[in-house]
């Protein structure tokens, strides 16, 4: 085994960069994809349930009942989408989806309150989207309970004793989904780039026949891999800087951890992506095939990564499978590094997993590539 020849690697690197930046398709992939992803996950994908459409059927029509509706809308969690004094209007609104939550206030609501009797309220929730329903229901219950306690206090009575539950969300006090999503977008983009660019540039050479021409020169498998992956790694690192900058400066995501902790994780993670890209390039004969194989790998990897659905909610089998998923481990590093200020000391198991996956994948890529060419 001879070590890589620096001249050959340098020339390959220069050639790759020239080709990548001469190809308008590649340029679009490199610069447009991260922007779209950041915009989508920074703005559009919002799991905070605000401004939930509320339908009000107020049979009471008193100052008391209006105070209740005001409390709901003043919170920002609800907006009144319609109002009627007929219950079937509420049913229709829920049917049509013009309202997600309906509230029905009985005629004797104010009277009951005045008399000190427990007042009944009906809250109807559209459960089609269980996530939205749960959150909206929780919000409504919290606001109504708050209102009731306030009434008791102003009336001189002390609130009923019992457990006083006070929930505070740490690290992301507003529970803003952006804070959680934007750092994770980094994981998606870096993986997408390193997979796509590596697989495409190798398979394209196979298609054109230049790969064969390279293999009859003294260029070794290791040198070919370095020449092919270094430019992609460089591009990925530039994107890492870009996304981190946008996350912190534009979206105001707190960065509480250390830069080295992020960089080390990103480097290992990118190597894993490059290796999987190389493996794909040995399986696929054409660029279309490479694209197909890539998404076959990429989409399940995203779903099993905890990007959208937490890993701990998955059936045990899938939790086991996801241990081999580099995206999962990177997300388990990048989110706490951003939000909790963790580093290698706290997250070392994830670093080790990433390292094992990257090393294993690169070794098998080297073997497969060497075998496929000779």
């Amino acid at each position: 085994m001879r070590g890589p020849n620096p001249l050959r690697v340098r020339r390959m690197l220069r050639k790759e960069l020239r080709q990548i930046f001469r190809d308008p398709r590649m340029k679009r992939i490199i610069f447009v994809a991260p922007v779209i992803q950041l915009v989508v996950f920074g703005y559009a994908v919002n799991t905070d349930i605000r401004e939930t459409p509320l339908f009000v059927v107020d049979h009471s029509s008193t100052a008391e009942s209006r105070r209740l509706v005001d409390a709901l809308t003043a919170s920002g969690y609800f907006r009144v989408a319609g109002q009627s004094d007929r219950p079937d209007a509420l049913t229709r609104a829920l049917d049509r989806g013009t309202a997600i939550v309906g509230i029905q206030i009985p005629p004797d609501y104010a009277a009951d309150l005045k008399a000190g009797r427990p007042a009944a309220l009906q809250v109807l929730v559209d459960g089609t989207n269980s996530n939205t329903a749960t959150v909206a229901q929780g919000n409504a219950a919290r606001i109504i309970r708050g209102l009731a306690e306030e009434r008791l206090r102003s009336g001189g009575a002390s609130p009923p004793r019992g457990v006083d539950l006070r929930i505070r969300a740490w690290f992301n006090p507003d529970l803003a989904s952006r804070v959680y999503n934007v750092p994770a977008v980094m994981g998606v983009i870096l993986m997408l780039m390193s997979l796509l660019l590596t697989a495409m540039t190798v398979v394209r050479e196979r298609e054109i026949g230049t790969l064969e021409q390279l293999m009859v020169t003294p260029l070794g498998t290791g040198e070919l891999i370095l020449g092919k992956t270094l430019p992609v790694a460089l591009i990925a690192m530039v994107q890492l800087a870009l996304i981190t900058g946008v996350a912190i400066l534009w979206f105001g995501i707190p960065f509480r951890g250390s830069l080295p902790a992020l960089l080390i994780a990103a480097l290992i993670y990118i190597v894993a992506g490059l290796a999987f890209g190389l493996i794909i390039s040995t399986v696929a004969r054409t660029q279309q095939e490479a694209l197909m194989v890539m998404f076959l790998f990429f989409l399940p990897a995203i779903i099993l990564s905890g990007f959208m659905f937490p890993v701990f909610t998955m059936p045990p089998v899938f939790q086991w499978i996801s241990l081999a998923n580099p995206i999962r481990h990177f997300l388990e590093i990048v989110r706490p590094v951003f939000l909790k200020g963790y580093g290698v000391a706290e997250l070392w198991p994830s670093y080790l997993w990433l390292l094992a996956i990257a090393g294993g994948a690169m070794a098998s890529a080297r073997l497969r590539l060497g075998g496929a060419l000779r």
């Binding site: 340098r10 050639k15 001469r22 054109i208 064969e212 009859v216 003294p218 000779r374």
Partner: protein, 266 residues
């Protein structure tokens, strides 16, 4: 003089199909050695094994005294290769292609300047160094590909149907270049199915169905068949023009393949 290429019982099987069947021959240093045969005869497979792109199923071969099975890395340092597929980078300029392959072959410094100038002159591309290779006419591309394959002045040059698709004039010019390389001591192994190209070769190996069915100089091949009396049409091959020579070599080729085919079938 030592043989530049020796091939002994070289065989390559793909599943049940034997692409190259126990082929043996030797190529002398400085020789232009032609591989002739119909499509699928095993010419390309043989060349791929000699260049280390494909492992033989059995048999052995040496190139420039190096065993292709065990010294593949060293073999790649001393050979040049150009295939029927045009295999330079179309999205790189002429100069960038030369720079890349010079780097891969370790041609640097003053030698690089010399060789670069030589390739540009040879291909007639001195004024077009900044043109994208994809924009060049095919004949020029092929001369550039040849230039990139011999940047490092290899001892042995493999050409796999290098002139397919080029017009006769460009083809003639290409063969003049090959002649020049041979005169300076480069051994050239070239496969072709153009009969008039076979005339440029010092010796010809005829391949059919993975087997070597004849090996001789062009005149020797014509003579052997003429004396056997099986050549249809003119057997007078003395001082004929180009066309006459070509047709008779073609006759030899067709006759030999027909005999071989017959022997296999019946």
């Amino acid at each position: 003089m030592r043989d530049a290429i020796t091939v002994r019982d070289l065989t390559r099987r793909f599943g049940d199909f034997t692409a190259v069947d126990a082929v043996s021959f030797a190529v002398r240093a400085g020789e232009i050695f032609g591989f002739l045969g119909p499509n699928g005869a095993g010419k390309t497979t043989t060349i791929r094994m000699l260049t280390g792109l494909l492992a033989p199923s059995s048999g052995s071969a040496t190139v420039a005294g190096l065993d292709v099975g065990t010294r593949a890395d060293a073999v790649r340092e001393v050979i040049g290769y150009m295939s029927q597929k045009f295999s330079l980078y179309g999205d790189l300029t002429v100069a960038e292609n030369i720079e890349l392959f010079a780097g891969l072959y370790g041609v640097t410094g003053a030698r690089y300047d010399d060789r670069r100038a030589w390739v540009l002159a040879m291909a007639g591309l001195e004024d077009r160094t900044d043109r994208l290779t994809a924009e060049l006419p095919l004949g020029w591309k092929q001369r550039l590909a040849l230039g990139c394959a011999v940047l490092h002045e290899p001892a042995v040059l493999f050409l796999d149907e290098p002139t397919s698709g080029v017009d006769p004039l460009a083809r003639r010019r290409f063969w003049d270049l090959i002649d020049g390389l041979s005169e300076r001591g480069t051994t050239v192994l070239v496969s072709t199915h153009y009969m008039e190209e076979a005339e440029y070769c010092h010796r010809l190996a005829l391949m059919n169905r993975g087997r070597l069915i004849a090996l001789d100089s062009p005149s020797g091949l014509r003579g052997s068949l003429a004396s056997a009396g099986s050549l249809r049409g003119s057997s007078d091959v003395g001082d004929m023009g180009d066309v006459g020579v070509r047709s008779s070599l073609e006759d030899v080729f067709v006759e030999l393949v027909r005999r071989e085919g017959g022997a296999v079938v019946g």
